[in-house]
């Protein structure tokens, strides 16, 4: 399934670092992501929970970080570039 794919570098406006082993698999982060780029893994972490994996297109909006009860997400955003950065996540 998806989790067996090899991650590629992202070109999106934002990104998240996912602390997989802190996740308790509640899935609260999945529906709140506006561009819908989070999906639960099929693999399990050290505690036996499935965890979110990231598809390309994160905007760095922090919605996932806001609702996560287990402090899993660190959120990053690309600083706005000088002219018409055009590229929207």
């Amino acid at each position: 399934m998806t989790t067996e794919q090899t991650p590629v570098p992202s070109t999106a406006r934002g990104g998240v670092v996912i602390d997989v082993d802190s996740c308790k698999g509640c899935e609260l982060c999945i529906p709140v992501c506006p561009p819908n780029v989070l999906e639960m893994s099929s693999d399990r972490n050290a505690s036996g929970y499935r965890y979110p994996i990231l598809h390309d297109g994160c905007t760095g909006c922090t919605a996932c970080q806001m609702v996560c009860p287990d402090y899993v997400f660190t959120v990053y955003r690309r600083p706005r570039s000088k002219k018409g950065d055009g590229q929207a996540g």
Binding site: T3, S10, S22, E27, L28, I30, C68, Y71, Y76
Partner: protein, 267 residues
């Protein structure tokens, strides 16, 4: 929108993407490590907002927390702040003592519905009536979560709990007590608000309420209270991911969100 994104490739989420800057930490530095609460629990989100608010207002060094008994009680082990854990329900009274002895401190309580509304209803009401200059944070999930999900005084009509298996029935169990409305009705309270942490909008608005409540204490306006509806999927017998929906359909129908009272007039 939804389907196409999932077709996009999986990207690396073990290191920050090149050329980006950090915009949010997972938790503030005042939270020292992982907690032991259930998957999908709302209480750790409320803790994060409270700790962030102390940092944002620059009052960490003079803040003292008074924590009650419930699942949130275990936060005393990971909060990097001076705390007193006192008898069940008595936090506003202990906070009263601390604030009176050290008027320059910023004193908050962290209590559940079982703690504040069952075990210690008179403590919060009398503290509010006395206009004690403290901030009470109520984590309301409508159950005694820590002891297995029994009904509390805030359980809403129709809500199924371990002690109301067919749903709370007013004829048998009485009606819920809207503690924030009671506190707001007392002249000694300065700021009262009710928020939730079930979605990003609720999280953002609740953090603003916590900061306004602490500011109200700094301004000497009497007791401030923020009631936060927090998901308890374990006590509600719902899957972790269903907590916000269940809360929206049950507790949020009985307890409307918003600022109930603020200095100089309500909302």
């Amino acid at each position: 929108m939804s389907a196409p994104s999932k077709q996009l490739p999986i990207v690396d989420s073990t290191t920050p993407p090149d050329g980006t800057v950090k915009v949010a930490d997972p938790n503030p530095s005042l939270i020292l490590g992982a907690h032991s609460l259930c998957p999908g629990c709302g209480e750790p989100v409320a803790l994060r907002l409270l700790m962030e608010s102390l940092q944002d207002l620059g009052i960490v060094d003079r803040s003292i927390g008074v924590v009650g008994h419930g699942c949130y009680g275990s936060f005393v082990r990971i909060m990097d702040i001076d705390v007193l854990q006192c008898l069940h329900g008595r936090a506003p009274s202990c906070a009263t003592g601390i604030k009176r002895v050290r008027p320059d401190s910023v004193v908050f309580t962290l209590q559940g519905d079982g703690d504040m509304v069952n075990e210690g209803l008179q403590e919060v009401l009398h503290s509010a009536a006395r206009a004690e200059n403290i901030t009470c944070i109520l984590l309301n999930n409508g159950v005694f979560g820590d002891t297995g999900g029994q009904a509390t005084a805030t359980t809403v009509v129709g809500q199924r709990t371990k002690t109301s298996l067919d749903g709370r029935d007013p004829a048998k169990h009485g009606y819920p007590i809207p503690v924030s409305d009671l506190v707001a009705s007392l002249d000694g309270s300065g700021y009262v608000a009710r928020g939730h942490v079930g979605d990003p909008g609720g999280v953002t608005r609740t953090k603003k309420m916590i900061k306004e409540a602490l500011q109200s204490q700094l301004d000497g306006n009497g007791l401030s209270l923020v009631e936060i509806l927090t998901m308890c999927p374990t006590g509600w017998f719902v899957p972790a991911g269903e907590g916000p929906n269940y809360q929206q359909q049950s507790m949020e129908q009985t307890y409307p969100m918003g600022v109930l009272k603020r200095p100089g007039g309500a909302d």
